[in-house]
Amino acid sequence: MNFKSLFIGAFALLVGPLSFAQSSKMGQINDNEFALTDVSYEPGADAVVLAEFGETQFFGDVLETKYFVRLKILTEAGKEYGDIRIRFYSGDDRVEEISGIKAQITNVENGKPQVTKVEKDGIFLVDLANGMKEYRISFPNVQIGSIIEYQYKKSDKNQVFLDGWTFQNPIPTLYSEYQIKMIPQLQYKMMGQGYNFTTRAESTNSDGLYTWKLRNLYSSKEEPYMKNYRDYVDRIEFQLSQYQKYDPVRGVELVDYLDTWQKLGDGVIDYYKDKGYYRSNPIERELVEFDISGNTQREIAEKAYYYLRDNFQNEGEDWIYPEKTLNQLLNSKTGSPGELVLALMGILKSVGIECDPVLIGSKGYGRSELVPFPFLNQFDEILLLTKLDGELQFLDLSDPLAPFGYVDLDKHVKAGLLLKEEESSLVPITIRHNSNSIYFSQIELDSAKNLVMKNSIRNSIYRGLNTAHLMKRENNDPGFLKELLAGGNPNEEIKNIQIEDELASKNIFTINFERVLPNFGEAETLIFNPLQYSSFAENPFTQDFRIYPVDFEYSFNETYNANIQIPEGYEVDDYPLAENISIQGDYIRFSFQPSIMDNMLKITARLEVRNPLIPVQRYGDLKFFMESVAAKLSAPVVLKKVANP
C-alpha cells in the first residue's frame, strides 16, 4: 500500500471538526481524542495539541492564569514531547510563580485507558540565571498514542502587561481556548493578531468574561523567505489602560494609565533622561577632541555617525531600554545599538540639529502591524529621526558596516512612535531605496583559445551592504570569495578579483573578476552558460506549499547583461528563446531577450520584484515562475565552427 492510499484508508480515524467537546479537566479524554492517529491537515505530524486552555483571573494584586494542555504522541519522534519545559521569571521578588503542577499520561492497554501520574521525582526545578527559572517535567511510559496532560497555575505580579495567550504551537493544535475575567478596577486594551485570530476566532463576552477559541491551527514553523514568521502567529495580549481610584469627594473614578501616545512617549523620554541621554555636558566633554563641524547639517550628522560607528563597540541586545547611562557608554566606548543611537541623538542635539528617537516593533518581534493603542510592549528597537537641511532622515547604528543613512532591514516597518516631549505620536516610516543588482559579463575567446568571461557584479544599497558582509567573511576566511565565484568546471580559474567598495560615497559595492576556461576554443561546438551569477539560478522555492506569505523584504530588480563576442570562424548556432513572464497580481516579472548585432550575441534579462510581500495564495504561481527563471538563467549558448569560413 502506498503512502497516499494508506492515508486515505486511515482517514476514517482522523478527526474532522470534533463532535465531542474538549474538556479542560485532567483525564476527561473524549472518544475522538482516543481514536485520533493523524492530523488531517498536517499528515505525519509527530504530535498534536488536542486541547489547551488558559484561564486568567485577578486575585487582589496578583494575576493568576491556569494552564491546561492535552497533547497526543503520534510518532516515534513525537516522544520528545514527553519532556515539557515551563519557563518563568521569578526575579528577586517572585514576580512570577508556578504552582499546582499536575501531570499524567494515559496509555490505552488492552482497550482500556491506563493512567500514570507524574510523581515529584519526575518534576525538576532549574534555576537558570538572572531570575529565570524553569520547571521540567519528564513523563514516564511515553509511547506512540500516549496522551499527555499537564496543568499548572502561574501567578504574576505584573498587571500592566499581561502575557495573554498564543494559540499556535510548534505542533498542530486542534483546539485552543483562552479566557480572561476582567474586573472593573482595571481596564485593559487588547492586542490580537494573526490571520486565524482575526478571521475565524470564536469569541464571546459575558459579564466581563472574555473568551476566544480557535480550532485546527497549523504548526508554526520556519519557511524560507519569511524570517519573521513569528509576526504572523495567532495570539492575544493586553495592556492596562485605566484603573479605578477612590476619591473621597468624587467617589470611585477611572484614571488613565497610558491613554495617550503623548503620555506613553513622555514616560519613555523620562527613562532616557534618567539614563542621561538628554544631558549635553557629557557629550560636550566627549567632543572636545573631536571635530564634527561641517558646512551642512548632513555633513555634521555623517561625521557624528561615523565617530560613533568607528570608535565605539557595538555590543548588546538591540532594545528600547538602555542598560548603560550615557556616561557609562562614553567611558566604556561600548553600547548596544539603542544606546548608540541615543548617544547620536545627544551629539546632534548638542549642535542644534533637530532629532528624536522613534520606537519601532522590528520584524520578527512578533507583531506584523502596529496596534493603534499606546501599548509600549509592541516596540522593541529604536531609530533616530532627524531633520537635516530640511529633509527628514532616519538613522540607525545596528550594523558596524553600514554607511550613514542605512537602516537595518528588520527596522523597515510601516510606522513607529516618535518620542517628543508632550508631542509623541505615531509616524510613518518610509525608507525609500533602490537596492538592485547588475550582473555584466563580457565573453570572448582570447588568442590562446581560452574562454574569458569578464564579470562585474554591482550591488547597490542593502544588496551592496550584504556584499560588504561577505567581504568581511573573506577577510576572516581567505579564499571564501573565490570558492563562491567558482562554477562547477574543475578546469576553470577565477582571476583578477577586484573589489570596489563605494558604498559610503555612491551606495555601490562592485566585484570585478575574470572566469577563465582554458583551451576552450578548440572544439567543434562551444557550449557555455553566459549568465553564471544570479541569486535565482536555482529556484529557492522547493516546498510544495506554504503557510506564510513570501517576503522578499523590499522591492528590487536584478539585471543581467552578457555580451558574447562571436569568435572568428564560429557562428551562433543556438541560444535560449526570448521570454516575458509574470504572475497574477504582477508581484514579480521576468524578461529575457537575446539579440545579435555586429558579430555580438547580446543577452539581456531582468528580474523585477515589484511587491516584496507575495500572498500565500500566489505561491504555486511563484514557484513555477521561479522555476522558469532558473531554467532560463541556466540555459546555454551554442557557437559552432563555420563549415567553410
Binding site: A77, K495, N539, Q543
Partner: protein, 619 residues
C-alpha cells in the same frame, strides 16, 4: 610561476589594498598569555586547582581569551576568583572583581532533563585596548577521578609567552601522564611528607589558528593511579583497573522483577539464533523506552537501577544500557557494559594512558565471531549497528573480571556505503516531465537519512526531498519512506512519483535537460566511501536526438572511479552511472575537494537534445 601561486599573489595584493591589517602569512595575535597552574592533590582524593593568569589583551577579540567563566557541579566548588585590569598606558587599575561579583547560571542543556552543571561568570566592562588582565581562580574538587588536561595554548590567535603547570600529589596515590607535543622542560621533585611534585613549563609557543590539526596541539593528560569518586575507590594503573571499578560501581543494579523476566523469555522463546534474540529484545527496548538524561554527582558514572528505568520507561545512556544488559541476562545472553568517547568528530582516546576519557556507554554482546554492538539510546537504527556517534574508535569493555580495550566497527566495506537509484522520466513537448523515482540507501547513508527525517511530518519529508534532490522543478505527488534492515545493516528505500516543472529548457534548436542526476553528497565526500549505482530512463517527445557532445565515458583517479554509459534508442535514452569512492584518509583536504569537483563535473552534466527540425529565427 604556477597559476595558483600567481593567483594567491594577486589576491594577497588585493586584500592588502583593501584590508590593510590583513597579512596573509601571519596569524594575527589578539592576546599574550602568561599562566601558572597548580594542582594540589590530597590524601582524601580531593584537590585544589589554582590558576594565575596574566593576559595582555591587544584588541577586542582577545577579550574572549580572558578567564571569566568557571564551571562547577556538586563534586566541585569555585572558592576564589579575583580579577583586575590595568591600563598599561597609565599604570592604573581600571576594573576589579571578586567572587561575589560573579553571576551564577545553570549550564543550559537541551538534552539533559536535569543535571547539576552550573557556572559562574563575570562580564568584563572595560572595552579599552590594550589592557593587562590578571586573574586568579581556585576551584576545589571532591574527587580526583578526572584530572583536567593541561593545554598551554587555549585559544587561537593567542601568543603564549609562558605557561607553567605544577602538580603535587601523595606518592601513595601515584600519577601518570602523557605529554603530547610538549616542547619545554619537565621536573620531578620529592617534597616533604611523602609528596611528589611534577612540573612542566612551556615558553614562546607558536600562535595557532583554525587550521591547526588537533593532533599537532600541545597537551598534557593526567591520570591518578589511586582514585575515589563519592566514596567509591579504584585503581587506574591499567584499563583493567578502571573497568573493574566501573563494574563494581554498577554491581547489583541490574536486577529485574521475575514477572518481567518471564515476559522477556516469552518474547524470545521461538528464536534460536543469538542475533535474532538480541534483535527482538533491542526492538522491545527501542519501542518502549526513551532517552531522558539526568546527571547528578556520582550519577554521572553510576547507572540508575534497571528497575527504576523499567518503572519510568526512560533513562540515560547508562540506564538504558544497563537495562538492556539485564534484559539479555534474563534470557541467558551475557553482555558487557562498554565505555566510549562519543561524538561524530570526537578524537579517539589515548590508549596508552588508562584514564577517564569517556562520555557515553554502549553494550557489547560477545558472539563466536564479531561482537554485536548495541547503541541503547537510539531508536532509529537496527540491532548491531553503531552510528557515527560511536563507530570506529577504541572503547573500554567492562565485565566481572575487569575489562579490556576493543574497537568498534568502521563500516568501510561496500555494503555499508551503497546507494542505488532507478528513475524514469517522461519529458513532454513543453519541457515539463513526469518522474518515477526510487532510491535505496544502505549503511551509513541510511543512518544519516533516518536522522535527518526522523521528526519530519509528511510535508517536511516532501520538502526534504525537493530541497535535497537536485531534480529541477520537482513537485512530489506520492512518496514513501521505508526504513528496513538486513540484520544490522540499515536500509532506507525512498520512492516517489511527481512532476517536473520546466525540466527542460527549449532553445531555438535544442532542448536542454537541466542537470538532474545529482552530485556526490557532502556526506560521501567527507567519509570518502561510496558505491553509487544509478539508472535513469528518459522518454523524450518525438524528433529529438542526443547531441554528440555527450557519450559514454570512464574516469579513473586515485581513490575514485566513474563510469557513465548513455545510449539512445528511438525516443528513449538510458543512462547508467556508477561512482565509486575509496579515498585515502590521509588525502589532503584540498586534493579531496578538487577530486570531488572533477567527478561531479563529469558525472552530472546537462543533456542536450537536438531537434530534428529547424524553427524560424525567433529573435
Amino acid at each position: 610561476m604556477s597559476i595558483p601561486f600567481l593567483y594567491l599573489r594577486i589576491f594577497g595584493i588585493f586584500l592588502m589594498i583593501f584590508y590593510p591589517n590583513y597579512h596573509p602569512n601571519e596569524i594575527p595575535v589578539f592576546s599574550i598569555l602568561s599562566e601558572k597552574q597548580r594542582i594540589e592533590l590530597k590524601d582524601d582524593f580531593n584537590f585544589i586547582h589554582r590558576r594565575e593568569i596574566e593576559v595582555q589583551v591587544l584588541k577586542k577579540e582577545g577579550l574572549e581569551h580572558v578567564l571569566n567563566s568557571i564551571q562547577y557541579n556538586s563534586l566541585s566548588k569555585v572558592i576564589d576568583f579575583r580579577l583586575e585590569i590595568e591600563d598599561p598606558e597609565s599604570g592604573k587599575i581600571i576594573e576589579k572583581a571578586r567572587l561575589r561579583d560573579m553571576s551564577d547560571a545553570a549550564v543550559y542543556s537541551v538534552t539533559n532533563a536535569f543535571d547539576d552543571q552550573r557556572f559562574k561568570f563575570y562580564n568584563i566592562q572595560t572595552r579599552k585596548f590594550p589592557i593587562t588582565v590578571r586573574v586568579v581562580t581556585e576551584k576545589e574538587y571532591k574527587s580526583n577521578f578526572y584530572l583536567p588536561a593541561w593545554i598551554p595554548v587555549q585559544h587561537y590567535n593567542q601568543q603564549v609567552k609562558e605557561s607553567q603547570l605544577e602538580i603535587i600529589f601523595p606518592e601513595s596515590m601515584g600519577l601518570r601522564y602523557k605529554a603530547i607535543n610538549l616542547l619545554g622542560e619537565f621536573k620531578e621533585e620529592k617534597l616533604p611528607d611523602e609528596m611528589v611534585q611534577f612540573s612542566w613549563i612551556e615558553k614562546d609557543l607558536p600562535v595557532q589558528d583554525r587550521d591547526l590539526k588537533i593532533e599537532d596541539d600541545h597537551r598534557l593528560l593526567l591520570a591518578p593511579i589511586h582514585f575515589s569518586l563519592d566514596g567509591f575507590e579504584g585503581k587506574m594503573e591499567d584499563w583493567n583497573g578502571l573497568a573493574s571499578w566501573q563494574y563494581e560501581l554498577n554491581k547489583g543494579r541490574d536486577e529485574l522483577p521475575e514477572k518481567f523476566k518471564k515476559e522477556l523469555q516469552e518474547l524470545v522463546k521461538d528464536k534460536e539464533d543469538l542475533y535474532e534474540k538480541v534483535e527482538v529484545l533491542y526492538e522491545y527496548l527501542q519501542k518502549n523506552f526513551r532517552y531522558v538524561s539526568i546527571q547528578l554527582g556520582v550519577g554521572g558514572w553510576q547507572t540508575m537501577t534497571a528497575e527504576e528505568v523499567l518503572n519510568y520507561s526512560y533513562g540515560d545512556c547508562k540506564g538504558l544500557t544497563n537495562l538492556m544488559k539485564a534484559m539479555l541476562n534474563a534470557v541467558g545472553i551475557p553482555s558487557n557494559y562498554t565505555l566510549v568517547q562519543a561524538g561524530e568528530f570526537a578524537r579517539d582516546i589515548e590508549i596508552d594512558l588508562p584514564s577517564t576519557q569517556f562520555n557515553h556507554v554502549i553494550l557489547q554482546v560477545p558472539t563466536d565471531q564479531d561482537p554485536i554492538w548495541l547503541e541503547c539510546t537510539a531508536n532509529l537504527i537496527p540491532a548491531g549497528f553503531l552510528g557515527s556517534f560511536t563507530r570506529d574508535r577504541h572503547v573500554l569493555v567492562t565485565g566481572p573480571d575487569g575489562g579490556y580495550l576493543s574497537k568498534t566497527p568502521d563500516y568501510q566495506d561496500e555494503i555499508w556505503n551503497k546507494i542505488q537509484t532507478q528513475s524514469d522520466i517522461q519529458v513532454d513537448q513543453q519541457g515539463n516531465a513526469k518522474i518515477e523515482f526510487s532510491r535505496k540507501y544502505q549503511g551509513i547513508y541510511s543512518e544519516r537519512l533516518r536522522m535527518q527525517t526522523q521528526s519530519a511530518d509528511d510535508r517536511e519529508q516532501r520538502n526534504f526531498l525537493t530541497s535535497q534532490l537536485p531534480i529541477p522543478g520537482l513537485i512530489i505527488q506520492e512518496v514513501q519512506f521505508q526504513n528496513d534492515a538486513l540484520d544490522s545493516l540499515p536500509i532506507t528505500n525512498i520512492s516517489f512519483s511527481g512532476i517536473l516543472q520546466r525540466f527542460a529548457e527549449r532553445t531555438a534548436k535544442r532542448m536542454i535537460l537541466r542537470p538532474f542526476m545529482g552530485d556526490i553528497s557532502s556526506q560521501a565526500s567527507n567519509s570518502g566511501r561510496l558505491v553509487q549505482e544509478d539508472e535513469f530512463t528518459l522518454e523524450l517527445p518525438e524528433n529529438l536526438r542526443l547531441e554528440e557532445d555527450l557519450s559514454s565515458y570512464n574516469l579513473e583517479e586515485a581513490g575514485a572511479q566513474l563510469s557513465f554509459e548513455i545510449e539512445q534508442e528511438d525516443q528513449v535514452i538510458k543512462i547508467k552511472r556508477t561512482i565509486e569512492l575509496n579515498i585515502d584518509d590521509e588525502m589532503e583536504e584540498e586534493d579531496k575537494k578538487s577530486l570531488i569537483k572533477k567527478l561531479n563535473f563529469q558525472a552530472n552534466r546537462p543533456i542536450h537534445l537536438i531537434k530534428n527540425y529547424s524553427v524560424p529565427n525567433e529573435l
